[in-house]
Amino acid sequence: MDVEFTLNGQSFRCPTGCTVAAALFLLGRRTMRLSARDGTARSLFCGMGICYDCVMRIDGQSNVRACQTVVQPGMKVEVQQGEGELGDDA
């Protein structure tokens, strides 16, 4: 267990090299976003970066694929609400 990151503001650790999706599965907290129209929970689906179902708000940027993003020390991961918001740097 070597990388510390936050999920919705709460601190967790995961092994180095884990994707955000894998880290969330390890925690047993696999809801990654709430859909825009119906607000239903969505999670990892295709796992290879093409379905865009697992998008989350990561380090202030929305619509980032959890399955393609490796957890970095101090990364801020948040469950995305709907379409997401413009990034902090926008």
Partner: protein, 462 residues
């Protein structure tokens, strides 16, 4: 703008083979892949160094990397558009660039076919490939109690990977009836080595006490905000479920996939003519025996040109690399003829096995009956079948008309996941063949690119 003789899109078995073959005849090429490491989905390399299993075959990737005098590898870059049949737009996290190439080889691979059914958007429902990546590259278990469902030998390979992580595999549901191979023509038995590989998986799973149940499919995934159970039913020869033979299993994870769909978006954008071949995944670029599409100097190889597995992909990649070398005048006609002979012979030897497997695992019409009016059929736009059905009744007959009416395929996946199954549903609804419904019509960029990445284009090119 970067200029190259040969650009190869896709770093899986086909793309890597094309690159090494062309390079071995003196061709300088660029090989682009969207992942951090070469290998494609089948030889996907480990993300977490301490956790990966050691059974991956990375000899091809090593071969490519050793040829760095002639092969330039562009990692973590996605080909998002093709202009004028020779300029390819590559998008990275924070930049985009155009590459101008004399010859283009598309080796984009394939993704899994999952038809819509009630509850399939719940967290915990995923493709078998998705679970395999978690288990194989990161040693992470996708859940506690898991059911695998669908068709084809890939399910067995995934189950075998899952044996190495902490998860209880409740059962494998294979839609096809029990012993389909007894009906095979004698010719198919010539590829005995391939059948043996399949049998090894079966006996490994049997030894682990995992039950393979033939002739059953998943009819619904159940739960409120997370998967809690799965209902499955016995099917007839056409995979129509018998609703009186439903069983419900408490599981937290369902992996479901019925084979693969070729990735043809780039071929479509390049203007390559497509043809519909349901037995190898649906829409594929029309090719001749030289792997050439209908657009001059654009070739296509591997699963992205028709799903046939890693052996065929490797051979097709080598052949495409040779033909590219000929086009670039690195080899002559006589050399091409003699070099391709063993490749053609091996491709021919594998044909009976491929045809048999295509026949066993072809998609049957019964899967269409899984949707009800409230089933989400387009995951991105959260469209329900009722809305699409009404659009069809209103006169929507193809991707474009249905897109305008219902927003189908307008989300970030651009119809990759919904359209292959939707085309079948729409065809059934309007009493025609899926090939008459037509393919989706992708628009550049074929995957979301941030405005920042576009604005930061290299060298100010448009």
């Amino acid at each position: 703008m970067t200029k190259t003789d040969l650009l190869i899109v896709g770093g899986g078995p086909a793309g890597m083979s094309a690159a090494t073959e062309a390079a071995s005849h003196g061709v300088h090429c660029h090989l682009v892949d969207e992942n951090p490491a070469l290998g494609g989905q089948i030889y996907r390399q480990a993300g977490a160094a301490d956790h990966h299993q050691t059974d991956r075959d990375d000899t091809l990737a090593r071969k490519v990397e050793r040829r760095d005098d002639r092969i330039t590898i562009l990692r973590e870059a996605s080909a998002v558009a093709v202009f004028d049949g020779r300029k390819v737009a590559l998008s990275r996290k924070n930049s985009t660039e155009l590459v101008d190439t004399d010859v283009l080889i598309l080796a984009s691979g394939a993704y899994e076919y999952v038809p819509p059914f009630p509850g399939w958007t719940l967290p915990g429902v995923m493709t078998p490939g998705s679970a395999q990546i978690l288990a194989k590259t990161m040693g992470v278990s996708p859940g506690k109690r898991l059911l695998l469902s669908g068709s084809g030998p890939f399910l067995l390979a995934v189950a075998s990977s899952l044996l190495k992580v902490d998860v209880e595999i409740v059962a494998i549901l294979e839609a096809s009836p029990r012993w389909p191979w007894v009906t095979l023509p004698f010719r198919a038995w010539k590829n005995l080595d391939k059948w043996k590989e399949g049998w090894q998986y079966v006996s490994e799973l049997r030894n682990a006490g995992i039950r393979i149940r033939h002739g059953r499919i998943v009819v619904s995934a159940n739960g409120d905000n997370d998967l809690t159970s799965v209902s499955h039913a016995a099917v007839d020869r056409d995979w129509h479920p018998d609703r009186s033979k439903v069983e419900t299993e408490d599981v937290d994870t369902l992996c479901v996939g019925y084979g693969f769909v070729p990735r043809v978006f780039l071929a479509q954008l390049a203007g390559c003519e497509l043809e519909y071949r349901s037995e190898i995944g649906g829409w594929i670029p029309r090719r001749n025996a030289d792997m050439c599409t209908t657009v001059p100097n654009i070739l296509s190889a591997g699963d992205g040109a028709g799903v046939a597995g890693v052996l065929v992909a490797t051979l097709e990649g080598r052949l495409a690399g040779l033909v590219a070398a000929r086009r670039l005048e690195a080899i002559g006609d006589a050399e091409l003829t003699s070099l391709r002979r063993p490749i053609d012979a091996e491709l021919k030897r594998l044909t009976p096995f491929r045809k048999a497997l295509d026949r066993i695992s072809r998609i049957r019409p019964g899967l269409n009956s899984l949707v009800d009016d409230e089933t989400v059929v387009c995951r991105c736009e959260e469209l329900r079948w009722k809305q699409v059905r009404e659009s069809v009744a209103f006169g929507g007959t193809n991707f474009r008309t249905l897109k305008v009416q219902s927003r189908v395929g307008m989300g970030p996946c651009q119809g990759r996941f919904c359209w292959p199954a939707m085309a079948r549903l729409v065809a059934e609804q309007s009493g025609c063949d899926p090939k008459d419904v037509g393919p989706s019509s992708p628009r550049p960029p074929i995957r979301p690119v941030t405005l920042g990445a576009l604005a930061a284009g290299v060298g100010g090119e448009s």
